[in-house]
């Protein structure tokens, strides 16, 4: 039997020293939960040694975050760290008491698949609302099917995972925000996932494998941010979409595709984005939009669009045409950002006089802020800036940032000469 356990220190009754009233321990449970949730998990659990009342207060915190900040191990031994980490997470989950609303696992060290499976099973039993899983090392992690049973999920964030829901998966009814980065997912699964989450408002998709045609059928979608390699993007039923940021990370060859498909990508893209407010066209996406027929102006103007950011090669005729079409189609544009794409081959021969021509029947009536970056002072770029300055009567600020210090002086000298339609315009030159 336990003979020798004597108390090393006698317990102290509240003495005169504790005459000052303890005002924190008797705060309502949900308030204590809030306070403890804002601490790193380590500090939160350590609160159990403060006093008798605090022993199990941590066990009801709704938010469990296990990342690199919660443990500080001085050991370099990988397996030691891993064992300790697994031990700690097991202990916390085992002794936790109450619903878990948020679970985040983002530790840089390699974790065992069975361990992570076990933890996900545990949290899937407790009406979890937010799951963030960042698998930093190892191959794509495949979450177990219990994750797809979490019908209370509102936010799901996965990094370096392979998504393969079970066949009976009917979607997440309450999911509002989905963030998938470095994932593998098949075309069907992706389409089904998006269309079966009717409440989806935010979608982020970066570096994905397995999906080539992005078909977005999400009636409540407001925020859409993707970057990766794909062939096609089309929006069905996305009237509320107001922020779109798309990056196509592969250079498509216009000649190859132009022959078969004359349908205008530009028209198709905008047909279901009536209320778009912010649009970012990154990497090579403008090239994609320039494929097929490009009208001089979109049939339905984007009246709500007030921020436009375009990555463009100023020497490419198709891209310039597409950009001009866009600029003409957003009469209420307030902020414009043009980023020059650094091309590998120098395109002296292809330099156009595109922006020299007078394209305008209407002016940039609301344009206030413009930023032009990554330029090197070639004619097409300077033409564009000149064009911009002379057509923006309410311009407040034009910021110019070159790609390198080469030709800086020439660039600045030219900049100085340009006429400005707006008397308030500041032209700010930033160092490269």
């Amino acid at each position: 039997m336990s003979i020798v356990i004597k108390q090393r220190e006698p317990s102290r009754l509240p003495s005169k020293a504790d005459a000052e009233f303890d005002r924190i321990s008797n705060l309502p449970g949900h308030v204590i939960d809030q306070i403890l949730s804002r601490l790193p998990i380590r500090d939160a659990v350590r609160s159990s040694v403060l006093s008798r009342k605090w022993r199990y207060k941590w066990a009801t915190i709704p938010c469990l975050v296990f990342d690199n900040h919660c443990f500080n191990f001085s050991s370099q031994d990988q397996s030691f760290i891993k064992n300790k980490l697994v031990n700690i997470i097991d202990h916390v989950l085992l002794l936790h008491n109450g619903p878990i609303h948020k679970f985040k696992l983002s530790h840089r060290d390699l974790l065992g698949v069975t361990d992570i499976d076990r933890w996900i099973l545990c949290i899937s039993r407790s009406s979890i609302k937010e799951v963030v899983l960042e698998i930093w090392k190892g191959q794509r992690y495949k979450p177990p099917s219990c994750l797809f049973n979490c019908q209370n999920l509102i936010h799901l964030e996965l990094f370096n995972c392979l998504l393969k829901p079970p066949l009976m998966f009917k979607g997440f009814k309450n999911l509002k925000s989905l963030d998938l980065q470095h994932i593998t997912i098949t075309q069907d699964v992706f389409e089904k996932l998006i269309s079966s989450c009717p409440s989806l408002e935010r979608l982020t998709l970066m570096n994905f494998t397995g999906v080539t045609h992005l078909i977005i059928d999400a009636p409540n979608l407001q925020f859409f941010d993707i970057g990766g390699i794909f062939e096609d993007v089309s929006f069905l039923n996305t009237v509320h979409l107001s922020l779109v940021s798309i990056g196509l990370y592969v250079n498509i060859d216009n000649e190859e595709n132009g022959a078969q498909d004359n349908a205008s990508k530009l028209l198709r893209f905008f047909v279901n984005l009536p209320h778009i407010r912010r649009l970012e066209i990154q990497s090579y996406f403008l090239k994609y939009l320039a494929m097929g027929y490009v009208p001089s102006r979109l049939p339905n103007l984007c009246v709500d669009l007030n921020h436009l950011s375009i990555r463009i090669d100023f020497d490419d005729l198709e891209e310039n045409t597409a950009a001009l079409c866009l600029l003409r189609s957003c009469p209420n544009l307030q902020e414009l950002e043009m980023l020059a794409r650094p091309e590998e081959q120098s395109s002296m021969e292809r330099s156009t006089n595109f922006w020299e021509d007078d394209h305008w029947s209407s002016l940039f009536a609301h344009l206030r802020l413009v930023k032009v970056s990554g330029i090197s002072g070639v004619k097409s770029e300077m033409d564009f800036i000149k064009f911009l300055l002379s057509n923006s009567p309410v311009l407040e600020q034009l910021t110019v940032k070159p790609a390198s210090q080469e030709g800086e002086w020439e660039l600045m000298k030219e900049l100085l000469r340009f006429r400005r339609a707006s008397i308030y315009a500041e032209v700010i030159y930033l160092d490269p």
């Binding site: 336990s2 102290r12 000052e20 303890d22 306070i35 403890l36 040694v49 030691f80």
Partner: protein
């Protein structure tokens, strides 16, 4: 024009006020738009029609005393104005939250009872910032928490609510480990007196192992699971035994030498030695018992077990390597009164420095 401007232009009696009563009985009137910022007050006004006159003042919850009410109203007065930018609000919040911890707790409580969620969020964040990164002692000091947990309970914060005997055993293992670590600390910075504790502990180990083998066997027999423990004990015994083996002949001689070696400290040696002897013996005895108990459950933490095993072997090794040198020194120094200092060198083994060598 902002609402504030309108209020100035309008005659005073056109402005509507809400009457509030705090738990101490005092009644005050507050501008309607300010008071209605609190959901609880809003509810009382709209659902129950209270607050329109002095007789029908809204009784505020007990947790809201006049001082706190005044603070809360300041907060509401600022934030209910619609035109403010996020930056302004944030800046106000930062300044607003600067108060002593006591008031912060009271404010949290009061804001919660009025269901003013943004203020509760703000104060919770502030309290979390205060708690973060501090040691338990500091936190207790700041919030005046009683230190009413036993040391053992502190060692095992993840104690199981059902009081699982396995977890209790784990507690003991942790307690034992803590003591071992303390002892190692002592070994690292050794002065003369503690040097003698070393000697004693060696002696004690010796006598304890030789003498106690019978006892521990007795204890072993009383437990159900014997196998694992016996194996483990034997392992530990052997390593300790190895350390002591070479010096079995010496203990008594050494004691005497120690006594004579330090002139002027004989008396203390005699007295101190005895008390040290008992303490250390107790410690080791307890260690041994707890070791027995702890061994019952090997599955609890094999990594921890290994670590403790390693530590014991390390300790034994250090003693082993040190004995010949120390013996020589003590025998040769005779009457010299040089204090002998020990410190750890790079690879963790103890080395002696006589005074002159010390940096």
């Amino acid at each position: 024009m902002s609402e504030v401007d309108m209020a100035v232009i309008k005659p005073e009696m056109m402005k509507s006020y809400i009457w509030l009563q705090t738990a101490d009985g005092s009644i005050q009137q507050v501008e309607q738009e300010v008071a209605m910022f609190c959901p609880m007050i809003c509810h009382e006004v709209i659902q129950k029609g209270m607050g329109s006159s002095k007789n029908y003042a809204i009784s505020l919850p007990q947790r809201v005393n006049p001082a706190m009410l005044s603070l809360i109203l300041d907060y509401c007065r600022f934030h209910q104005v619609p035109g403010r930018s996020n930056k302004e609000r944030k800046s106000f919040d930062e300044k607003f939250i600067r108060m002593d911890t006591k008031r912060l707790c009271e404010l949290t409580s009061a804001a919660d009872s009025l269901q003013l969620k943004p203020l509760v969020d703000l104060t919770s964040r502030a309290l979390a910032r205060i708690i973060e990164g501090k040691s338990p002692e500091e936190i207790r000091e700041i919030f005046h928490l009683p230190d009413d947990l036993t040391e053992e309970e502190k060692l095992e914060p993840l104690k199981n609510t059902t009081d699982d005997p396995r977890i209790r055993l784990l507690n003991r293992l942790y307690a034992k480990k803590r003591k071992e670590l303390k002892e190692r600390q002592k070994l690292k910075n050794i002065e003369v007196e503690e040097e003698r504790v070393d000697d004693r502990s060696v002696d004690d180990l010796l006598s304890f192992i030789n003498g106690d083998n019978g006892d521990s066997k007795g204890i072993k027999n009383s437990k159900s699971k014997k196998k694992n423990r016996r194996r483990k004990d034997q392992q530990k015994n052997t390593s300790a035994n190895e350390a002591i083996k070479n010096h079995n002949k010496e203990p008594n001689g050494l004691n005497q030498v120690c006594h004579s070696a330090e002139v002027g400290q004989k008396v203390r040696a005699g007295v101190g030695a005895t008390s040290n002897l008992h303490d250390v013996e107790d410690d080791i005895f307890d260690n041994k018992n707890e070791l027995d108990d702890g061994d019952i459950d090997d599955e609890i933490d094999p990594a921890l077990k290994e670590k403790i095993d390693r530590e014991v072997e390390d300790f034994a090794r250090r003693l082993n390597s040190d004995w010949p040198e120390r013996m020589q020194e003590i025998l040769s120094f005779g009457h010299e009164r040089k204090p002998v200092h020990f410190s750890l060198n790079g690879n963790g083994s103890l080395r002696r420095y006589a005074n002159s060598e010390q940096r």
